[in-house]
Assembly symmetry: C2
Homo-oligomer: 350 residues x 2
């Protein structure tokens, strides 16, 4: 990839976050020195995408504690618990957030005899490790996933599950980049993804930066594009995958999956193993974030509905496992029956 | 209906058109005194909705000829042909446009011995008749259609097929108004309908004006709302219906129909008989308008994609007859097999 931007990085005592709400207009960063800024950045979707949220949360934990004046490990851990409890309230659906917070906590708890300063170093290293790991996971998703794509394919994707959603080459888009690197020509249709237009703003921008031909369509056009036979394959990311393969992802993913089934087009989900939540048997247990009505009413800087009209604005929907052809992970490509096959995936959520 | 606005009317030598591009912000009218203004109003969707376009075109024909200096009927008819040929280029998909132009022409041709001034009167009366007829057709659609709805129903609609799309009470929304008038409580979910947001701007506004509870959702949310069992019925309008029932309607209608099938929800189309095009056997013959990319790229007054990204922007899609539960018309409710049942419909397009 030519110009990969870094979504989240630690930079001279601050957490530097690419402000994705400003893309594609501006490539600008927010520099967080307070924990509340990290919370706000996640809540306002300055950083978004389940893997990137996880990495951001890990760095957020370090940010929240690197100036701790705790006198003992116990006191330090108490502070750590307050920090993670606070960050856990930023967004409810992406399991990577909770996964990263848990992992930071577990890492600290391994060293009860360490001093607060030593624990800070432990947390720094763990956050850096999570970030590096995320990048590696993306590359492995790319390696496994690219085999699903052929020269000449036209692929539909929804929302942004690219490098902007991760600390690496992306989840859903990583196989496309990997296929391109192997000389396969792939075209992409990007759903604009209302209300926050991650497809129009982010996926289109990211693909253009990387020389992948992309056409933006409104979400409601995917059906007719499929009916015309223009789409060979579909690949999307995931915010949480239940033990049976049911997948929560950006609102609008589920109707794309229904359309894929109707048109007999393979529908792939791509996600790192950290996105699997084996604690829940199916998608019915995934909490779905309801966001502010003004994202729909004033999403474009001006009012596009009657002033006080009722709005329903769920941020995610759940695609049931029977609509999913395969799930591409860093541990390989998994096929139905998912309830059985996904058991092979190893992560801390088992 | 409490506050029905008039979409199109003849007013002191000018054609007065409600400028729907300004709704719901402003209720403002354009007063057309030149034919080019009528063409522009149709092309720019100041007036939209197949039936309203038909009525507008009929008045447009009169506007284009009411100051004619033709010396003979023959000369007048030549001018008439130029006017209708010009208006026919305003938009390609809605058959009502061509139907209205043909009907105005046929009416004039009935009186070859009339003077130009007499023919002007003929055209005025015919345009007024088409407008009145459209209003009556809407009421009949309402009368037949309301029987399909029960007290307590929650209905999804797409785009705007209400009073704003006609010279009367609407097509898809007319049965809802009629049901309300009979004391049935009906709630509506309105798809916002990208790119031009006719659902968010027009349907929501119109329903609120008329005291019908409405919730706006983004187009990509309809699937999850259906999956939660919140929608009992779906009703949409039509821009052209082929002899076999295949229906062209606003882009995004087809995916709603696929979702309806998947969730086993009745999917109704409502249209006056003038929307049927019996000259074409199926939807494959309906020309689909491709509109300017900037409707998607800058639809909200600001750029929401990378500057020059490729965009696909079809204004309509075709819903195949097998996804349609019934078609509600001014001549009754028609059920499959449509190829047989629709033969009973009488219109000038037979």
């Amino acid at each position: 990839m030519k110009q990969r931007v870094t979504t989240v990085s630690w930079n001279h005592g601050a957490l530097k976050i690419l402000d994705q709400t400003l893309l594609p207009d501006k490539v600008a960063y927010v520099s967080c020195t307070k924990l509340s800024q990290v919370h706000e950045a996640i809540r306002k979707l300055r950083v978004r995408g389940a893997p990137a949220i996880g990495v951001c949360a890990a760095w957020g934990v370090y940010l929240g504690l690197h100036k701790s004046k705790a006198k003992s490990a116990k006191q330090f851990i108490n502070e750590l618990n307050r920090v993670t409890a606070y960050l856990a309230t930023s967004r409810p659906t992406a399991v990577n957030l909770f996964w990263a917070l848990d992992r930071m906590t577990r890492q600290a708890l391994k060293y009860p005899a360490y001093s607060p300063n030593e624990l800070k170093e432990i947390l720094f290293n763990e956050a850096a490790h999570i970030a590096k790991e995320d990048s590696d996971l993306c590359d492995r998703i790319g390696k496994f996933g690219e085999k699903l794509f052929r020269h000449g394919d036209t692929v539909l994707t929804h929302c942004n599950a690219g490098s902007l959603a991760t600390a690496g080459s992306g989840t859903a888009l990583s196989p496309i980049y990997a296929a391109k690197a192997r000389g396969k020509k792939i075209k992409v249709f990007a759903d604009e993804t209302r209300p926050l237009l991650q497809g129009a703003r982010l996926t289109a921008w990211e693909l253009m930066q990387n020389g992948v031909p992309v056409t933006v369509i409104c979400d409601n056009m995917a059906g007719s594009v499929m009916a015309k036979g223009k789409i060979n394959k579909i690949i999307v990311g995931a915010d949480r995958i239940a033990a049976n393969g049911d997948t929560a992802n950006k609102i609008g993913t589920y109707p794309v999956a229904v359309l894929a089934k109707y048109h007999n087009i393979p529908f792939y989900v791509a996600a790192p193993s950290s996105t699997f939540d084996f604690a829940i048997p199916d998608g019915g247990h995934i909490p779905i974030e309801e966001r502010h009505a003004d994202e729909v009413r004033r999403g474009f800087g001006k009012l596009t509905t009657p002033e006080n009209v009722d709005v329903h604005n769920p941020a995610f929907d759940v695609t049931p496992n029977e609509l999913i052809t395969a799930i591409v992970t860093d541990q390989g490509v998994f096929y139905p029956p998912f309830t059985r096959t996904l058991k092979k995936i190893k992560n801390e959520n088992h």
